[in-house]
Symmetry: C2
Subunit: 105 residues, 2 copies
DNA sequence: CAGCATCCATATGGATACTG
DNA sequence: CAGTATCCATATGGATGCTG
């Protein structure tokens, strides 16, 4: 593979910008194939602050990896799902997990 | 795959700590299968500062992904190579590149 | 040549209180 | 319930100068 690392917009750097974040991959992996509400998501990802969860979700929505559906109800209800592109990240994440399982670093 | 995201030391979080950095994967990919000197490495990875390159190399050596060989010469000469574990990251990186190539996000 | 030390700007991210 | 807003601590990272 002949990739020019110098280029700030090379595919590797662009992908790393997505997966590099501390939380994005955890969020994607947690949503996975299901539909999940904001509150449950927050409970699942122990350690994340509200600010981070919201901002990362917004980031992922903007990038087209996550789809957000709001219901006009009181109390509010918001559901998150992965888009088709988002789902394509799942095998990548699984490879990362596999690597982590194989090595004690 | 049944991974507990809550655990700070789950395989996914651990792997993300490695690849999450802005530079680590670029360095690994740049070293690749060859032996490369510090200076050339620095020239290859446009945009990285000396401080970052040194600290990230140290990090990767500590983690066992990179091997460093210093020569007792004047002027100094230091060669970096990937360890076997480090080389196992190459397919992961290639998948990241592939993902970047496939999607315009 | 390789790499350390220092200073400093900015980014990241946590805690808390508040709102529709 | 699902966010926003604000304040603040720390981490990240760049520039520069120096050294064996």
């Amino acid at each position: 593979m002949n990739i020019n690392i110098s280029d700030e917009h090379c595919p590797l750097r662009r992908t790393l910008e997505i997966i590099g974040g501390k939380w994005t991959m955890l969020i994607i992996f947690q949503i996975n194939e299901r539909t999940i509400r904001y509150g449950e998501l927050k409970r699942c990802i122990v350690g994340i602050s509200e600010k981070m969860l919201i901002s990362q979700l917004k980031f992922l929505c903007d990038k087209g990896f996550v789809h957000k559906k709001s219901f006009a109800e009181i109390p509010p209800k918001v559901e998150y799902t992965l888009t088709d592109i988002g789902k394509e990240l799942l095998p990548v994440i699984n490879q990362l997990i596999q690597f982590g399982l194989n090595h004690k670093f």
